[in-house]
Amino acid sequence: MAGLATATFVVVIANMYYGNNIIADAIVQNKALIIILGGIFGILPDTIDFRFAKYLQRHDYEVDMDEWNIDPQKVADTLAHAIDQAKDEQREVNVMLHTIKISSDQWRQYTVQFDTENKKVLCDIGPIISGFEKRPYVDSYLPSEKSHGEAKFNADLKYNYDAVTHVDILSGPDFSFFPEDDGSVRADFIPWHRRWGHSVTLGILFAPIGFMLYGFTPLGWTAFWIIMLGVWSHIFTDHFGLMGSNMFPPFTTKRVPGFKVTRSMSTLANIFANYTNALLIIFNMNAWSRVHHFEMPWATMLGISSSENMAEWYVVSLLNYIVYYILPPILIAYFAVQYIRKRRGVVEISDKEARSREQLEEVGGINV
């Protein structure tokens, strides 16, 4: 949706730049499909990560248990060994933790936690759970002597996500351990996600496809910008969360932390992001239409006409539109949520906890 909204902005600007409404006419009258490029390249970063990058990730160790062969100690030992190996051999070491599937709808859950202070990996086997709601079967817990394992490691571990990692449904998570310059080891959760597939570099690489489709014509240049900004719109939207992305690979290797405004799976954030995008698309379609189906009062009050000064009319009308139709519901919902949270005494979670939850939701959410 962000990609499509971005594409409509590019079309409006290109229309003003080239004049004569040529880009909009190509779309409305000649039925050009150029705007779809914004949608396609807007969704592409996740498509690349979950259809390709995930499978190109190599693993040095895979922990694969089944219901009749459950060994929490093996999980803890493997992870602890991988951490130390990364330090000793000064190379990246990857570990994959597989899920324990029982039937088409049942998995046994287990958890992994890195205790960086005491340099220990803890693994606990949980109950059998049902489906995506992960409802536990109360009689399925293992006796405590069979359900816990822990192992010590020697390296100093940097792990930004202090919450417990749950391994439960579909495919399990993986971890990468990187040796750092200061002698410590950095742990990354699902290391293939939000890396090169979510980068500014990728947008630049894909953008020339616009010229391949339409040549070096006004449409070609418009497609160039739609593709590049379409990819960037995805990265920019994701960046409002906590996890962030690796912006300039191969020049950078780490994810840049997000703006921490919201979480990627927050219901309200998603609703209002899509609401805003949908309304902006409607506004832009109206703006490039030869007959405007609605006019905003501010432009009329200031005596600005689209036929005389399109850019001025557009900016004033857009501001007016945002103030009248986009901001009010967002502000009302924001203050209503704040009020309810205050009344109920909801405790704010820490940055680390929020980041960890976001990462887990990214894995679970996208797979569903």
Partner: protein, 426 residues
Amino acid sequence: MGTAIGSLMSMLPGLHVYNVIGFFLLFYFTMGLVIDPMLMTLMLIGMLVSYAFVFTIPSIYFSAPDDSTMFILMPSQRYLKERKGHEAVVLIATGALIGVIAITIFVPIFMNVLGVIWDIAMPNMHWIIGAVIAFMLLSEFPKDFGRHKNPLHGLKEAWKTILAGYLTFFLSALLGIIVFSKTLVPVEHGFQSLMAPLIGLFATSSIILNLISKYEIPDQNLPKSVDADPREIAHGSLAGSVGGLFAAFIPAVTAGVGGYMASHAFAQKGDKSFLVSMGASRVVYYVGAIALFFLPTLHLRRGALAMGINLIFTPETVQQFYLVDAGIALAGLVSFFVVIYASRFLARVIPKINAKLLNLVVLGILVVLVYLMTSWQGLIIMSVATAIGLIPVLFNSRRSHCLAVILVPIWLNMSGISLGALLGLW
């Protein structure tokens, strides 16, 4: 009367209201002089509203696939397996009731806004539908458990389901282009030319899956409450209603696709919210299409019923819109109670019902229906469509890819591309 007929008919698995309205229209054409067209219209609307509610019953109780055929169970199937089929029905019916309330209240309120949005969107419909298709094709992620020998093996396993989905999409699109470009069924039944492919893609393929699956339906519990959080109901209803309205508004997009897009847009989580949204999106899609048809600022023809009604009736006045709106509300309320009581009854007797025999009977009914409406040519089209419809079922890809049968021809048509002519189908 429409609600009663629709409720009875909708209890049968695989039978769609759109497949039988053709018979009612033929009946009306012979009896047109003695039946008021508005009465006939309201009866057909009653049938549609009850279908949107009562379809829940066969979809929950008569389609329980086994572990060997399913990769992941849908929440409704999981509920049935866990003896909570009635609970699932109540959640879906609740969503549907909220959907009806949303239509009857909000469509009149936003009458003018919807008119303006339609005027703006109409010239851009080709790329909007194209974007929906792109989303369908790019948003399906691999269903695998991450156990691979090497990256190449991983990619191969991951892409199995995706490629099966693309194959389904391509074959459905090709079938759609052929059916839209050339009338293969007898010309006097040309208005039912989509019947055979749709029954094949969605109904008979499901019935065949039910027939080959090995499953036993456990005894069902009848709880006094569904124990759902109001936030889950609100979230599901909102997502479902928005998805359903989007589908009702945009040509060729259906409730399934609209609901799926809305679940992404609303970051939907949890079975209860999902079930509620299922009910809301179906009702808003089917019934909303009728409301938009009668809406004085729009008169939008969406879905087979609006097109069918348009053969006998032309909506003109605001009074007619409010009459239909009231009819929808009444039919919705009655259908809600029909679903709840029918589900309570079925939950008690379901282990005694031979679901396979029922599926077999419905398969027979569908074959006879297709033969009567579209002759032997229709049966051939239905067989081809059934084979295509089985691909996503057997390879665990999305069944919504079958919708390419209508999405692609309409999209091509709106984009000014005549593939039918290119293929020599004129």
